[in-house]
């Protein structure tokens, strides 16, 4: 045995010493583990104190220790502390092993003798393991100063502006023809009732004009290569059929285009748009796109009205999709949400009963720039409703659909109630489960609605039907609900129903997650690194999330997250390089047979296959160190630093050295 190992048993005051006989453990380790290379074993009141650390450092220097085992608390707490202590005594920090005899022993057991035996076993495992530790260096990688932001809603725009204003390049990718996201569709914003467009448009224009922002609308990310600091992202720019260099955005083309189709995206199916179009007047960028699926030229080869009338010859029917690759150091995903499809709750009648609206439809209906010019009327286009029912929690807080709260629906429904009341004078009923108005000025808004005379019925709507039971119900829709405050079933006839649909993860969130190496939680939202303390970072280094992609939230929270993610990215850019934990897999090329078992196992695409040499290779910068390929390699050709087979197998032997009854079995073979 060439290693000289020091064992340090911490009392942690009485936290450990109150249950584990630390002096006995220390004595035992020095005596029984001498064969494994233990040359000194000590116990001390607080190993993490500066005096405790000095004890270790002194032994490293004076006794020439080559390995250190500290038996104290969880490595998640003090691993760094003891590594640093070793480093400052010129011992490679990765030659130190911290084993937990507090969280895993003294705090969870009451039988003192069993806890003492277990501490011996844990230390024996640590000693056996540490002998196989290797001196490692953290991986340092440079950070490319540009940033990719996916999603041009309010969260993405905010993040883009923050980073661009700090002087760094941003590529803002948006799938639709214009940035703006859902917020651009809204009429008013709660609780202040500012006009959504009035506050959003200036930010959109700023983003569009910013010298540091490259806007890539009508585009989608198709491939992500590389790793933190050095991503190469391939973006597909879909053909617009409009030359952006020549187009001035004058609008003559969409004025002259003779073809109209229903606008399912921006107008939520309520209005129509031309085949060459910008989704809304304030769109950024100002260039239109041709909807090739509906364009007469693409369908029949005739028309070309837009081309004829374009004063700058910007129409280009020969344009093709174009793939560009950008290099960035960090990525922010602000991909937003989809609206819950209310058709999934057939008893609410959407699609069957014409005057049942989704919340997004109502946003367009009440929007002055919308299809009705802001007149709140029924589908016939003229009748003003006299009674309106607004149903909260549609698809949310429901075990049959989404168990989570969609956060914005209560406030949105209150906003709708106010708008209906204000514009039509109609009687408004809000059906809610619980009224959730937790943020600044929200509760006050609720009080305002109460004062306006809106009826609030606490109960989950059972059914919306046109089957009348009384003459009064005839020709109207009836909302069947249990009013839980008075304990009665009620049937409330209304002319219009608005379903406050919940928010859902994007349909393609999983695939997008896979593209960027992110996981989705059970509900489908992207998982943050820590739900409280690190909400915009993810488990994948260099990839951040903001806005509703992370979970349902309102505009202020989305803006805050956009700015927060930007701050995190700026911090990384400022550091210029980062250190990564050197827990990585590597492949012994000679032993690798090129069987390709491992190739598909890495979610981070860190394993490449060299067709020419027929061997696989791990890119250490992409590797996250999970060790799945190490365990899977049939040839045993992959090894993993920090958690090598030798380390783990020795730890198993060490742990089994002392059985629970405390009898020392045979010594671990050296």
């Amino acid at each position: 045995m060439t290693e000289r190992i020091g064992v340090y048993v911490c009392h942690c005051g009485t936290n450990i010493a109150g249950v584990v006989d630390v002096a006995e453990v220390s004595r035992w380790a020095g005596e029984h583990l001498a064969g494994q290379g233990v040359v000194v074993s000590r116990d001390y009141k607080f190993m993490c104190s500066s005096l405790g650390q000095e004890l270790i450092q002194k032994d490293i220097k004076e006794l020439g220790l080559t390995r250190v085992v500290v038996a104290a608390c969880s490595p998640h707490l003090h691993e760094k502390t003891f590594r640093n202590a070793c480093a400052s005594a010129d011992l490679n920090p990765y030659l130190c092993e911290l084993v937990s005899i507090r969280e895993q022993d003294s705090w969870v057991h009451t039988d003192k003798s069993a806890a003492t035996d277990k501490a011996k076993a844990i230390i024996s495992g640590g000693v056996a393991r540490v002998a196989h530790h290797e001196a490692l260096e953290p991986l340092r990688v440079p950070i490319h100063p540009a940033t990719l932001i996916v999603g041009g809603g309010i969260a993405g725009i905010q993040a883009a502006l923050e980073i661009a204003d700090a002087g760094y390049r941003v590529y803002l990718v948006e799938r639709e023809p214009s940035i703006g996201g859902h917020m651009a569709q809204f009429d008013k914003t709660f609780p202040t009732l500012d006009c959504s467009a009035c506050i959003l448009t200036p930010k959109m224009v700023d983003a569009g004009n910013h010298p540091n922002i490259t806007l890539l609308t009508w585009s989608e990310v198709v491939k992500v290569d590389g790793y933190v600091g050095n991503f190469a992202v391939t973006i597909n720019k879909k053909a617009r059929y409009v030359n952006e260099e020549l187009c001035t955005g004058c609008g003559i083309c969409w004025e002259k285009c003779p073809w109209k189709v229903t606008d399912e995206v921006f107008e939520a199916g309520l209005g129509k748009r031309k085949v060459i179009y910008v989704p809304f007047p304030q769109a950024v960028p100002k260039y239109p796109v041709i909807d090739a699926e509906n364009c007469a030229y693409f369908l029949k080869g005739t028309c070309k009205a837009c081309e004829k009338f374009c004063p700058t010859d910007a129409i280009d029917f020969t344009q093709k999709d174009e793939q560009i690759t950008v290099e960035v150091g960090n990525i922010i995903l602000a991909t937003g949400y989809d609206l819950f499809d209310v058709r999934r709750i057939p008893q609410y009648g959407y699609g069957r009963l014409p005057n049942v609206y989704t919340s997004l439809e109502f946003e367009r209906l009440s929007n002055a720039a919308g299809p009705t010019g802001g007149n709140i009327v029924l589908r016939d286009g003229k009748t003003v409703p006299k009674t309106v029912g607004i149903v909260h929690c549609v698809g949310s807080r429901d075990q049959n659909y989404n168990p989570y709260c969609s956060v914005i629906c209560c406030m949105q429904s209150l906003k709708f109630a106010h708008l209906v009341h204000e514009r039509t004078g109609a009687e408004v009923y809000n059906f809610y489960i619980d009224m959730r108005t937790p943020f600044k000025d929200y509760e006050e808004f609720y009080q305002r609605l109460l004062a306006e005379g809106t009826h609030f019925v606490r109960g989950k709507v059972a059914e919306i039907t046109d089957f009348a039971r009384t003459p009064e119900e005839e020709g109207r829709m009836i909302i069947q609900v249990e009013d839980t405050l008075i304990g009665k079933q009620r049937r409330i006839p209304v002319d219009m129903v608005i379903l406050s649909a919940g928010l859902e993860p994007r349909q393609d969130a999983k695939e997008v997650g896979k593209l960027f190496g992110l996981a989705c939680g059970t509900a489908g939202w992207f998982i943050e690194r820590h739900p409280k303390l690190d909400p915009v970072a993810t488990m994948t280094e260099g990839i951040f999330i903001a806005g509703c992609a992370q979970g349902p939230k309102d505009i202020p929270a989305s803006v805050a997250q956009g700015a927060g993610a930007a701050a995190r990215v700026l911090g990384k850019i400022q550091q210029k390089e980062i250190s990564l934990e050197p827990v990585r897999a590597s492949i012994n090329e000679q032993q690798c047979s090129g069987c390709r078992i491992c190739n598909g196992l890495c979610p981070f695409n860190a394993i490449l296959f060299h067709e020419d040499r027929m061997v696989s290779e791990v890119n250490p910068a992409l590797c996250q160190g999970c060790g799945t390929c190490v365990a899977a390699c049939p040839a045993g050709a992959i090894s993993g630093t920090g958690f090598s087979n030798e380390q783990i197998l020795s730890q198993i032997e060490g742990l089994l050295l002392v059985n629970v009854n405390g009898k020392t079995t045979e010594a671990v073979p050296a």
């Binding site: 896979k514 488990m539 196992l601 979610p603 981070f604 060790g627 365990a631 629970v660």
Partner: protein, 159 residues
Amino acid sequence: MTDQFEPTIIGFTCNWCSYRAADMAGTARMKYSPNVRLIRLMCSGRLDPTFVFKAFAGGADAVLITGCHPGDCHYVEQNYKALRRYLLLKRVLAQMGIEPQRIKLLWASAAEGAIFAAEINKYVEEVRALGPLHWGKSGNGSKPIVPDEAKESRTEVPA
């Protein structure tokens, strides 16, 4: 200590979920049986069946494998690889005459300290009921590890 059988169980934990659950059980001073010794891996996907065989061959009475809940893997989906290996491993162990209850897969998130502690207690009782495995003593695989009766005596074939 009474005379009842105290099983030795080796537990493999994931750095991001079950190891943190164990930490959490500790921080919250939840009590559980001292029979399980934990090994920290970065991910349940690191679990090599060799480790399980090694534990049994080295004297463990049972092996507990823990990882993030399906869909919650820190490394996207490596826990599914652990699940698949576990299911095949179970079949192999059954053929080797090891009761299927001697290996258990448990999903435990970092927040589930209480579940982690309760499951350990339950499992220790299950293994206690099975009795000791006594597979033999620890070895490195290349040296003879034969139980005493196999080493020292010969079976006389039935007459």
